[in-house]
């Protein structure tokens, strides 16, 4: 178990966005978080990444307690994420965006960068090399010096994932990675993610609405509705489950 979420409740005022949610992710698993809009999926992400502090419950990542740890420290522990609406650093080049992912692991001090001491050069060279490798892996090398905002939507998505992988995570959280993509792009992305999981040795937790995508990729899924879990298991079984179907369609299928 790489991630163990235990009875997490997230309360905003009177509303429980997540209600005693518990699940675990196995090592090297692709785990899907699905459910209708507003079910609490992104909230769950934000609790795991440290942006929200849950009202109750605990989260263990590689057996360490991570509730209350600040977001930038969570990254150092090995959890990285992407965002639903792509949040690249628009003014910076693709290379710089990905370098940011490596920056927190680079070891040179402020003074060393000002004085351009040797360690600055060796660390930067190392990271730039690794960044180029990642860009090549994702087919982004030709855009190395382009401003991130100039890329196509699909490529921006890839940069965001590449950037997250640059932080050397053990668990990658993908928030609706296929949003806004056509079926061909979606298929390509699914293949890419599966490949990346193996090549970079990561576990993946993803939020998605596209059921084909989920079916193709996820080993297991958890279905959320109004902040509560209503199903956990294989994607193929989720579709057949009555509660899941009614959550998506509304209760009028019974009468």
């Amino acid at each position: 178990m790489i991630l163990h979420v235990d009875k997490i409740t997230m309360q905003f005022g009177g509303i429980k966005a997540i209600n005693e949610l518990s699940f675990s992710i196995k090592d090297k698993e692709i785990y899907g978080l699905i459910g209708p809009n507003g079910a609490g999926k992104t909230t769950a992400f934000n609790v795991i990444t440290g942006n929200y502090i849950p009202s109750s419950g605990s989260i263990k990542f590689e057996n360490k307690d991570v509730v209350g740890v600040k977001p930038h420290k969570i990254v150092k522990l090995g959890i990285a994420r992407t965002f639903q609406n792509i949040r690249l650093f628009k003014s910076m080049s693709v290379m710089d965006n990905i370098l940011i992912g490596f920056d927190s692991a680079m070891h040179y001090t402020y003074l060393e960068s000002i004085l351009r001491l040797p360690r600055f050069f060796s660390e930067e060279k190392k990271s730039r090399q690794k960044a180029k490798e990642i860009m090549e892996y994702f087919g982004l090398l030709e855009f190395e010096h382009h401003k991130a905002s100039e890329l196509s939507y699909g490529n921006q998505r890839k940069v965001e994932i590449a950037r997250a992988i640059a932080t050397n995570p053990k668990l990658l959280l993908l928030d609706e990675p296929a949003a806004g993509m056509n079926p061909a792009e979606t298929k390509e992305l699914a293949t890419l993610i599966k490949k990346a999981k193996d090549d970079f040795d990561i576990s993946i937790l993803l939020i998605e609405h596209d059921m084909k995508f989920v079916n193709h990729l996820c080993d297991r899924v958890l279905v959320l509705d109004y902040g509560k879990m209503i199903f956990e298991g294989k994607p193929s079984e989720a579709i057949k489950n009555e509660e899941v179907v009614s959550a998506y369609l509304g209760d009028f299928i019974h009468d």
Binding site: F12, T42, F45, N46, N51, F83
Partner: protein
């Protein structure tokens, strides 16, 4: 100190605090709907006062009319500033808006400087305001009574508008979510214009009161008062009208009592607002009324 002096200071505090409150409301409302610290707000107050001066000196209008001119002038200037400088930047990054506000502030100060010079000008106030009444040692002028009462009345008027009219509801909704308000068919820009109008008008009233109490005016008079009023708004809880009143009063009290109890440090009284600001940020950033705009950004 004895009771008489103490009471005297209390009374003065109410007066000063109310003036800060009137100006603070404008800051807090504009921040609420635009998330903008309107640097030009203190200068709008100053412009209002100069409008009054203009009315009295050039047109020889009686004081009451001059006040109306002051308020009207400030309202127009406030609306124009929003229309010309802030509206084009609704979708721009926040830093652009703040810098523009700074530019506006500077513009107003220097236009008035060009028109009237930088030397302080005497602000003629009807003798009515200089009468004094002696209540066994405590000196009371009409101002000291009128200012807090008018402030309270205006405050209740604002709260009425905010909580009992549809415009007020729109203003409060705008403070939470611009997009939704637009989707409901409300012209967000008109509501924002209303906010600027109200805030500027109140600031002008505060400025006139200031002119009555400290009867010289100069182009930079809005700078320090504006800064303090903003600190008061933050102290009370930025976005809250009641907070602006509380913050203004607390600041007024603290300043007056500080000088009364420690006159040898009088020169530092202007630093009090700044200290309040730092303390609030350190210990209770949401201010007294505790409004927290830090909603989910994810």
């Amino acid at each position: 100190m004895d009771l008489v002096t103490f009471l005297q200071q209390i009374i003065n505090s109410f007066s000063l605090g109310s003036m800060y409150a009137l100006i603070a409301i404008g800051y807090t409302m504009v921040y609420g709907v635009l998330r903008l610290i309107n640097f030009a707000h203190g200068d709008i107050m100053m412009v209002g006062v100069y409008f009054a001066f203009f009315a009295m000196s050039v047109f020889a209008l009686p004081f009451g009319f001059a006040v109306i001119v002051a308020v009207g002038g400030a309202v127009v200037v406030g609306i124009l500033i929003d229309k010309i400088a802030y509206k084009p930047l609704r979708k721009a990054p926040r830093i652009s808006l703040l810098i523009t506000a700074i530019g506006m502030s500077f513009f107003l100060e220097n236009i008035v400087n060009v028109l009237y010079g930088s030397t302080p000008i005497a602000f003629s106030v009807p003798d009515f305001f200089s009468q004094t009444y002696d209540f066994s040692g405590v000196i009371v002028t009409p101002t000291v009574i009128i200012v807090p009462i008018v402030t309270l009345i205006l405050m209740m008027g604002i709260l009425y508008i905010l909580y009992r009219t549809k415009y007020g509801m729109a203003i409060r909704a705008l403070a939470f979510d611009v997009e939704t308000v637009k989707l409901m068919g409300i012209d967000a820009n008109k509501i924002i214009m209303l906010v600027f109008a109200v805030g500027s008008g109140l600031a002008a009233v505060g400025g006139v009161f200031w002119g009555i109490n400290y009867p010289t005016i100069e182009p930079l008079m809005g700078v320090l008062i504006g800064l303090k009023a903003f600190a008061a708004a933050v102290l009370g809880g930025i976005g809250s009208v009641v907070g602006a009143l509380l913050g203004g009063l607390i600041l007024g009290f603290t300043e007056v009592l500080f000088v009364a109890f420690m006159p040898e440090y009088g020169g530092y009284k202007d630093a009090i607002a700044f200290i309040f600001l730092i303390l609030v940020l350190l210990f209770r950033p949401a201010g007294i009324m505790g409004i927290n705009f830090e909603k989910a950004r994810f």
